[in-house]
């Protein structure tokens, strides 16, 4: 709210050379790692196709799978809550934390809780939320916003992180910007939190309908600490995260790490069912979140966005994201996937309406998507749905009117040739000529064609 639309926000980001350098280095590195591990798999295309098919099967019978999931989670000793929107989900979580008598929760990195702004809702209720993912911790300590789905502090470099830690963590005066030293400082800081927290909040990468199992994949092990040490575990999970069977994880757990971190397998995969006395949290709550997902589901083309497994491969290859960074998108979901997901989840507003246009439609995102979301197709589809400025609509209609008549088009050709002789163009075309020259035409093709025939 109060955010500028994409073109203005992008302009600010483009003016920051440090940000450009950080993004270029980081996305370049992840791109290369992904390309290497994907190339190892001769059956990558078959895996992608299987991933697409699993998600489409789920989206085609979502009601059935969700009810099955609820039944299985309940049978395994968990409690299932249904949240229509962000406000309802936040209310449920706040009440659960209060009922546990806690004023602090440790958090596993989760996009769903960011989407609903759970940390802010908890703070309003006097509950402190501690992010335990290293990058999320960096963002939280810096009172900053995440700018990437997988690497939320991608816009920061090591030197910037050292300064932040020195300012926010006790006993870090001698800290260097060596990654090992930075990680050790965060480790000491977080260990105290893990041991004292009574409630943990997580999301989930997958929820298995046939047996009620939830899956979290991560790199650091901090998520594992949150999922096992506290007494109460609350997982906020988007309704599209369900997969039919455990067997489907075979496909998903191969697609996700290779596409996201560029690893063959992520270091930690936690899978749990309900609550087991004497083994991990004694109380488990699953909050199933709609928050615009059923609206997207109703859209024949837009629903493809619900296949997303939040790997962020599309961000890393996107030439627009690489230059503007994630903040310009004004959404927790940046990059190509954010440009099609945000307008659907959030509904129309000036920022959301600008996002489907935040792409040159180059198609690099579609090429890498592990569940084959045709993002350019969805972008073009959503461009037809969003609000069009009346002046633009008039110009596009005028252009169509010209192009439907060869005589009007002939006049337009003559005017265009005159226009190119000007140093700068008027109106919206000025944006072209402030930085770029126009070609200088010689004899027109049609004059030449007529002369020689």
């Amino acid at each position: 709210m109060g955010m500028p639309a994409f073109p203005e926000a992008a302009r600010e980001a483009l003016a920051d050379p440090q940000l450009r350098a950080n993004l270029r280095a980081a996305t370049g590195t992840i791109r290369a790692k992904r390309a290497r591990v994907v190339a190892e798999r001769g059956d990558w295309e078959a895996l992608r196709e299987a991933g697409r098919a699993i998600k489409d099967e789920v989206l085609g019978s979502l009601d059935t799978y969700l009810l099955q999931l609820e039944e299985q989670v309940t049978a395994a000793g968990g409690v299932v809550h249904w949240a229509r929107d962000a406000a309802e989900a936040n209310r449920i979580v706040v009440e659960l934390v209060r009922a546990a008598g806690a004023d602090e929760v440790v958090k596993v990195k989760s996009m769903a809780t960011q989407e609903i702004e759970l940390n802010e809702a908890l703070a309003d209720a006097g509950i402190a939320a501690v992010e335990t993912d290293l990058a999320e911790l960096i963002v939280q300590l810096g009172h900053d916003r995440p700018s990437h789905i997988l690497v939320p502090a991608i816009h920061r470099n090591r030197a910037q992180i050292r300064e932040l830690f020195r300012r926010e963590m006790a006993g870090t005066d001698d800290l260097t910007d060596d990654p090992v030293a930075l990680a050790a400082a965060a480790r000491a800081h977080l260990r105290r939190k893990f041991l004292s927290a009574r409630v943990a909040v997580s999301g989930a990468n997958f929820a298995v309908a046939e047996n009620g199992a939830l899956v979290v994949v991560e790199s650091e092990g901090n998520g594992r600490m949150c999922l096992t040490l506290p007494e109460v575990l609350i997982s906020v999970v988007g309704i599209e995260k369900v997969v039919p069977t455990s067997r489907d994880l075979e496909v998903m757990l191969q697609l996700l790490p290779r596409s996201s971190t560029g690893e063959r397998m992520n270091p930690y995969t936690s899978i749990w069912r309900g609550a087991t006395p004497g083994d991990g949290p004694g109380e488990f709550h699953l909050v199933l979140l709609d928050n615009g997902r059923t609206r997207a589901l109703a859209d024949d083309i837009g629903r493809d966005a619900l296949r997303c497994i939040r790997c962020s491969a599309c961000l890393n290859v996107c030439p627009v994201y690489e230059r503007t960074g994630g903040h310009a998108y004004g959404s927790v979901y940046p990059g190509p996937i954010g440009a099609i997901l945000t307008p659907q989840l959030r509904g129309p507003d000036p920022v959301a309406d600008s996002l489907p246009y935040a792409s040159s439609l180059c198609g690099a995102c579609y090429e890498v998507c592990p569940v084959k979301i045709d993002i350019p197709r969805a972008l073009v589809h959503l461009r037809a749905e969003v609000h069009h400025r009346p002046a633009e609509r008039l110009a596009m209609r005028a252009a169509a009117w010209i192009f439907t008549s060869p005589r009007r088009f002939a006049l337009a050709r003559r005017l265009t040739r005159l226009g190119t002789r000007l140093a700068g163009l008027p109106g919206p075309w000025r944006r072209w000529t402030t930085t770029r020259d126009l070609p200088q035409p010689h004899e027109s093709f049609r004059d030449w064609w007529e002369r020689r025939n």
Partner: protein
């Protein structure tokens, strides 16, 4: 062979050279070129900007303008992709969408030619435009044609597969981002020391070339067809 030329509105308005070049190459190879005078625009900018209903009459007009031709050739990968991918859903039911080929695709796949007898003694680098690369999967067709040109030395473009930032109305709606992408592309072009940057879409070349020209760079931009037409 009788071949229809779909010049595209942009080339018709601004880039006469590429139309002449396509005609020269095809005629040199012994084919007859037909230019339907009523042709205007395929509607790509309309569809991609979110004006689907305004685009439909243009797709229908295209089918009428090129009706009856067995081969239509166009020197624009993005316009060919538009006709091939989107026109079938935009024309009236039962109407045949003309069979359109991108120029280099036509030479290599339909005519089976890679050496068109051109001479061009210059250092050239090639930018694979996004629609040519990902929508039409042109692969090494354009570079195979360029490699067969006598005197031409082809140098690799760093980070070649990244978009130049043109993107149709993206270049106006997100002008700053578009120029940032174009600037990086133009820098890579200059790093090759090539005399000429070649591509199969004049829209992208207009963007990159517009920047190079503003910088007073010595590198010029040419459509692949113009290189293939040289030497006669």
């Amino acid at each position: 062979m009788r071949v229809g030329l779909f010049l595209t509105c942009l080339n018709d308005m601004l880039f006469a050279g590429v139309g002449k070049a396509v005609v020269r190459v095809l005629e040199r190879l012994g084919h007859e070129v037909v230019f339907p005078l009523a042709q205007t625009c395929c509607g790509q900018a309309h569809l991609n900007t979110g004006y689907r209903s305004e685009c439909a009459p243009l797709a229908r007009k295209f089918a009428t303008d090129f009706a009856g031709l067995d081969h239509v050739v166009s020197p624009s990968a993005s316009c060919v992709a538009m006709v091939r991918e989107h026109h079938p859903a935009l024309v009236a039911p039962g109407v045949r969408v003309p069979p359109v080929h991108e120029f280099t695709e036509f030479l290599v796949d339909v005519l089976g030619v890679t050496d068109v007898g051109a001479v061009f003694p210059h250092r050239v680098t090639y930018h694979p435009t996004c629609h040519g690369l990902r929508a039409l999967n042109l692969g090494d067709r354009p570079t195979a044609l360029l490699r067969a040109v006598r005197g031409l030395s082809l140098v690799d473009l760093p980070e070649a597969t990244q978009c130049c930032g043109f993107g149709g109305t993206f270049a106006l709606k997100n002008a700053d981002t578009s120029v940032a992408m174009g600037t990086d592309k133009a820098r890579h072009v200059l790093a090759t020391d090539a005399e000429v940057l070649a591509a199969v879409d004049n829209s992208c070349l207009m963007h990159i070339g517009g920047l190079l020209s503003r910088w007073r760079a010595a590198t010029r931009v040419l459509h692949v067809a113009e290189i293939l037409a040289s030497g006669d």
